[in-house]
């Protein structure tokens, strides 16, 4: 049995089991969901064990299982994975049990529905990262909207309906253009199988700017790139903690993943041509997200805008179109999932205790919750890119790559992007200071409880990874390297790579 | 000798008068009559063409149209009687509760 397929669809086993449980058996449902996601995680580790580090190309490839024929084009159920996909799948399978664990206390209503949607979501997300056929990819891509929509809309905060609809429509508005582009490519080349399309990419070289834009809009919304980001703060703020974790940790990565998986190899010329523009937007996003974060009062909103900034770095790295940039971007995708996921978890823990996310309601609580404060500090530092923690390795590699990127071609621009590290310190320390430092502004906070074992168990894996990647990222870079190298080769080997030269 | 196009022109004229009747008359019955006029205009065109081609199919068609028209009249008049029963009016402009 192909471990990839097992991993992808195993959550559905839990889905079926829970579907047959009574809605009142909440504890059992929770445990089943957790067990399912943990087994999925183990399966993904098995997949990692099976994975051969080194060779480029897709492994555990199911091959072209032709599934449907659309006119002249074959739709295949092709799945396969490379280092990039594997990392993303691992991130997904790691964050899902953590997110489920985070709902233990906070989701008391309609537990069954929640877990059903959550497991569906997991399969959808893994599918996105595993699909090798454009149509299959799109199926998973769109499908992830559905459970997330309900997670936000049914278990969210006060403005959950607005946020859920905004999330759904915004994302869908982007992806419909991708659908058109996918179909167009299928029509032109008679296949939706990604490797074949890459091999035949010269066929649609003439219109690749448009195709690139079709894909790019979908991914840019998801990332989200400035100025298409405004759905994100609303979605994050209203989503339940688990939803925010997955949203920030995985769903946003689907956008950057898409750029890497599709835009670069399929439309190299357009990528090179547009790289300065996208890099420009990325830099605006970096600074804008960081500055706007600073003006927030709501912790989740602040973290949400910080995602705009962080993902700006990732985009900058991707469109550096060189090895450092792309490798750093991929690593930073993982990093952001860990750091921001952990941030949302801690914010969620605070919310569970006090039922508000306003920073004003806290202040000085490090005194009463020392462990939470310490972990929050580490996560904050990881997020602001302190060397020795994971965020730095990614950010540095990205900026290094972007700085020397011929595609971006402007060291000044990247220098401006580097200012982001200052602004990141400004808003993240502001957050930490407002919440954890200073005197106790509210006497009732003296009764806040420190982390319990469940919460420690949620944060611990993330912290271990935060340190691991920060100090010894080599295993991760080894996973990334073939993919990144392959992408760079694909972009530069295009017949029009003359554009790249000086 | 009268050219076929004259007949067709007459048919077209009756057709558009029928349209005007539907558009301008509020009385459901008169509106309905205008519809009959339109069908009639179509019939005239059929007979003209049939004569033009020296075929009978056109005339047969007219026969069927008349039958259908009769059926429609039955339904239509029943409907109007029923509506008049409940609304005491057959003014089409008063039947607009469904809109938007």
């Amino acid at each position: 049995m192909n471990p990839l397929i097992l991993t992808t669809f195993f959550p559905l086993v839990g889905f079926v089991v829970i579907a047959f449980l009574g809605a009142q058996q909440k504890a059992l449902i929770r445990w089943v969901a957790l067990a399912t996601s943990l087994v999925t995680f183990l399966l993904s580790l098995w997949m990692l064990a099976q994975f051969q580090v080194g060779p480029a190309g897709f492994q555990m490839n199911t091959g072209k299982l032709v599934w449907a024929i659309a006119g002249n084009a074959e739709i295949s159920a092709a799945m396969g994975i490379d280092g990039l996909g594997l990392l993303m799948v691992l991130l997904t399978t790691l964050l899902t049990p953590i997110a489920i664990l985070s709902t233990w206390e906070s989701v008391r209503e309609r537990v069954k529905g929640f877990m059903l949607f959550f497991l569906l979501l997991e399969t959808g997300m893994i599918g996105v990262f595993a699909a090798l056929d454009l149509v299959l990819f799109f199926l998973f891509w769109e499908f992830t909207l559905v459970p997330m929509y309900f997670l936000i809309g049914m278990w969210g905060g006060e403005r959950r309906v607005y946020a859920a609809i905004k999330f759904f429509l915004y994302t869908m508005a982007g992806s419909v253009f991708m659908l058109l582009a996918i179909i167009y490519m299928g029509v032109q080349s008679g296949t939706f199988y990604l490797p074949d399309l890459i091999a035949n990419r010269a066929q649609f070289a003439g219109v690749q700017l448009w195709l690139f834009l079709g894909f790019a809009i979908a991914f840019a919304v998801k990332v989200p790139m400035w100025p298409l980001h405004t759905w994100l703060p609303d979605a994050h703020v209203e989503a339940p903690t688990a939803g925010s974790v997955i949203l920030a940790g995985v769903l946003l990565k689907m956008g950057t993943y898409g750029f890497l998986r599709f835009n670069l190899p399929l439309f190299p010329q357009a990528s090179v041509q547009l790289a300065p523009w996208i890099a420009g937007l990325a830099v605006i996003g970096i600074l804008y997200g960081a500055i706007v974060s600073y003006a927030q009062h709501d912790m989740k909103r602040l973290v949400a805008y910080s995602s705009v900034s962080h993902l700006g770095f990732v985009m900058l790295g991707i469109f550096a179109l060189n090895l450092q940039g792309i490798s750093g971007a991929i690593l930073q995708m993982v990093n952001h999932g860990l750091s921001t996921g952990a941030l949302f978890l801690i914010v969620g823990m605070l919310y569970e205790r006090k039922h508000t996310r306003e920073m004003e309601a806290y202040g000085g609580i490090w005194k009463v919750v020392p462990w939470m404060g310490a972990l929050m500090l580490i996560v904050t530092l990881s997020s602001l890119g302190l060397p020795g923690l994971n965020g730095f390795v990614g950010e540095f590699t990205i900026l290094l790559g972007a700085f020397g990127s011929q595609a971006i071609g402007s060291q000044v621009l990247v220098g401006v992007a580097t200012l982001g590290v200052i602004f990141a310190a400004v808003y993240l320390l502001f957050l930490f200071e407002r919440v954890f430092l200073g005197g106790m502004r509210h006497a009732e906070n003296a009764n806040l409880l420190d982390l319990n074992w469940r919460e420690v168990a949620m944060l611990l894996p993330l912290l271990i990874l935060i340190f691991w990647i920060g100090i010894y990222p080599k295993p991760f870079f080894d996973l990334i390297a073939p993919t990144a190298q392959n992408l760079v080769t694909l972009v530069q080997s295009a017949p029009y790579s003359a554009l790249l030269g000086h | 000798m009268v050219p076929a196009s004259y007949y067709l022109a007459l048919s077209a004229a009756l057709f558009v008068i029928g349209i005007l009747g539907v558009l301008l008359r509020r009385n459901a019955l008169v509106m309905f009559m205008s519809l009959e006029l339109m069908f009639n205009a179509g019939n005239l065109a059929f007979v003209t063409f049939a004569r033009m081609f020296g075929q009978l199919e056109g005339q047969i068609f007219v026969f069927f149209v008349m039958t259908v028209a009769a059926a429609e009249v039955a339904i239509g008049l029943a409907l109007m009687v029923e509506i008049f029963r409940s609304k005491h009016s057959i003014n089409m402009d008063e039947i607009n509760t469904l809109k938007g």
Binding site: - | V2, S5, N27, E36, L37, M52, L56, I60, F84, D93
Partner: protein
Amino acid sequence: MPGSPIVFFILAIVAIGTALGMLISRNAVYSALLLALNFAAVAMLYLTLGAPFIALSQVTVYAGSIMVLFLFVIMLLGAERLQPAEVLRWQPYVAIPLVVILAADFAYNLFRENTEMLKVAVPSADYGTPAAIGNMLFTRFMLPFEVTAVILLVAVVGAVVLAKPDRPARPRSMERSDNPTPSKPVS
């Protein structure tokens, strides 16, 4: 084309005149009568076109029974006149230009190249006779003929359904359904 122009023009003028009369008459009864006249005039034209059977059917079915039915309903409902409350004031100002354009379209299409229109096949001896028509109806056109039968049947059933007053005005299950406690599903 058969028939003398004089006959055609007289009939055409009558047809158009009666049609316009129907259109502008305030009284529905007059409209119905004028329409009957119109049908009769058209029936005459059918005769000139070599369609005696159709002409006869026109007179009996249309001008005869259908218009009588109309008149009957008008009288029954007493609905010959309506209150002059015009809701859609702008309707004529849009409708009339549109219709004029449509008429122009038709006219242009007809008279642009009327050479084709002048071609007339020489009809066979039994052209348009009831016998010929009947023959065709029951051979080649048997299926449509049967279909019309079904249509008429449906119309009868439909008319009965729509106009039959014997049903109670209120649905019988109303009380039960309006009961706040959800009723047991009926199967």
